[in-house]
Symmetry: C2
Subunit: 187 residues, 2 copies
Amino acid sequence: MHQKLRQHIEAIVPLTDEEFAFVASHFSHQKAKKREFLIQEGQKVNHVFFVVSGLLKLTYRDEMANDAIVSFAMEDWWESDYQAFYNKTNASLSLQCLEPTEVYSITLEDYKKLCAGLHKMEHFFLEKANRGHIASQQRIISFLTLSARERYEQLLKRYPSLLQRVPKSLIASYLGVSRETLSRLYN
Amino acid sequence: MHQKLRQHIEAIVPLTDEEFAFVASHFSHQKAKKREFLIQEGQKVNHVFFVVSGLLKLTYRDEMANDAIVSFAMEDWWESDYQAFYNKTNASLSLQCLEPTEVYSITLEDYKKLCAGLHKMEHFFLEKANRGHIASQQRIISFLTLSARERYEQLLKRYPSLLQRVPKSLIASYLGVSRETLSRLYN
DNA sequence: CGCGCGATTGAGTAATTTCAAATCTAGTGG
DNA sequence: CCACTAGATTTGAAATTACTCAATCGCGCG
């Protein structure tokens, strides 16, 4: 029961059975169909999600109604519109399933209770936040120093399975180029 | 003594005098001249820095020896090459003073001791890491959805003082365009 | 005054976008 | 099994945007 979640957490902070039971009691488990939204732009963001299996896209819709891919969330990733989640404001991002997806979710109140009741978990989330910050910074560096083609090759190397799993137009959006340009890159 | 640091921390977690004395005992205080490096690419990263006053640039040097501005660190900012800091690996980034700068610094060992000895501080750093992550994500979104000109205007609005304080070529680098292109934007 | 750095301008080149059309592919129903 | 359709991908061509390299400008400081 909850093996994936436990393994994932214990990769950073070891837990006793009782501690993990306490942790697990703060999460809900949920399955979502392809195309289903876990977060809708403009609505309240009640949860942070941990992806057990499947694939999500985190997107930002600009004035011209184009969806920019802020992030793909795959197995073992934590994702949300964190800004809206922590501040209890309306989402500026959307989180939607690209595949049938299984997640755990936690509310802000449970998140706070969990951290307060078990400091190890606060440490765990600190570690996750740091890694997320570092990853975002890497992505910024890729925009500053790499060509579209190089960013594409880097993405391929890092997540070879992505190409099989999502339409290329989404890859293009993630890389910050038009789908036509992406198509012309690998010639 | 240490007023800036204390106020900054207490904006998130209130502290007693004893608690703050404990916190302060883990930090060193340091002044650095313009052009001085706090982190050099290739070297070990021994500290995270809190900027009391002054201005730093965090840069990444690519194959063509261009320095890309990953971030400006101004008053009240925490900055480091976090990846290298946490993993005790060599820096891939440099952190250099653009102005005479006053900082507090903390080593990884003291950081761990501080968090272990005062959970409030772990909470504080979690909060900081989250905000950093969110800020980086916003910057990614600006690359995905805004033109160079729009990114420039957004930066101006957010940090009006920057233009006065740093050469425009650095602003260009931060925005991801050549200095010539930036120069042509405001015509 | 003149040096040096940063900023701007000009001209040619390269990369990317846009819009439109053509092609490919997977899934559906007959 | 085949035909058909919707969505995804590719291709073409013109227009835009950005880059590079070189030259010039502007200004503060010794």
